[in-house]
Symmetry: D2
Subunit: 117 residues, 4 copies
Amino acid sequence: MNLDQIRRKLAAFARARNWDQFHTPKNLSMALAAEATELLEIFQWLTDEQSKVIVDNENEMALVRQEIAGVFIYLTRLADKLDVDIEKAVLDKIEENEKKYPIELAKGNATKYNRRD
Amino acid sequence: MNLDQIRRKLAAFARARNWDQFHTPKNLSMALAAEATELLEIFQWLTDEQSKVIVDNENEMALVRQEIAGVFIYLTRLADKLDVDIEKAVLDKIEENEKKYPIELAKGNATKYNRRD
Amino acid sequence: MNLDQIRRKLAAFARARNWDQFHTPKNLSMALAAEATELLEIFQWLTDEQSKVIVDNENEMALVRQEIAGVFIYLTRLADKLDVDIEKAVLDKIEENEKKYPIELAKGNATKYNRRD
Amino acid sequence: MNLDQIRRKLAAFARARNWDQFHTPKNLSMALAAEATELLEIFQWLTDEQSKVIVDNENEMALVRQEIAGVFIYLTRLADKLDVDIEKAVLDKIEENEKKYPIELAKGNATKYNRRD
């Protein structure tokens, strides 16, 4: 199933429930932020090391998978409502990032391009 | 380009910059929430109606596309680090949502399934 | 009770539970964002009008009060850990906002100062 | 200056700019989440240790102070619009947390009360 098939499946789901009235870009941006932050919440008291070994905890991972799916779903809905081609947007951004973060400047350095000295 | 190809492209990008040291699940969950909230910020003072007609504003839409890509990129990185198959997680969640939100109960009603009377 | 008394009460609470090890600035910033987003979640499917009349809904307001307190608590903890005098920071920011948003330019206009034409 | 004086100062600021039309509870919850996440963004690529020594970096701390103030300001506005007495809400929540996290169970353990075994 590709991105466009998922997009259409989600649109049909909302349409069948008459939910398009709620799915304004504004509301979808809120729902997206809420899902992203539920993912964040899973990691908030963990050390970096603990955040890596979470893959071995089946209960936590079930939650992680649900929240990742939640983010993806609202992102797809938002992009659909705003006629954004996600794949194209992602490829454009990767290209832009290649310019902002050339390997020789960015190697081992996560400083944001516009805060680099 | 499918989800897996994007995943591999992003992994190569990080590896070339020696960024895997920063890309712990914890840090990626923070970056994801930050990108999602930048998207939210675009809509915060707009009415629902204004949030819909943003599609006609090319400057705003350029920003929207970048932020949507940003969310997608960090979500893909996080899923990669945690060995989550996004497509499978999304299809599972849609199936689960079909049970939580049957058409006859959810039609025209956005109440969360566990807060329905 | 003033801000400083609340700060000390919260510090004692954490100390008694040996929680300072978890309360790094990084983790507190995550917990703060998580609480703020739980507040957001309450409003995500409401219209502006519905978001105003929530004051008449005692159940929802009990939740709102808890989340507002949650944000305040983590903000106070974070400021404490970083030696930030919240009151001073707030008064400085109000002063700065008075310069960025002079009444004649900002009247009836929520455009961010750096995006104004 | 106490919480109530800050609340009134911020209300006057908004009124003078005719901003109450934008300051619906819904919009304020979005602005609050956005400010909280800007704070988070400062810490996203830092280790816990680096997040502590940020106090010695005057540039970063200037930013931290502004974002802390931003969170406080929108939280105060939101509480004002919803007639929430922040001080009371905070003291109630501390009392509730004392019950949810008794010292003997919570000592050295950040597990959320409802996920404790």
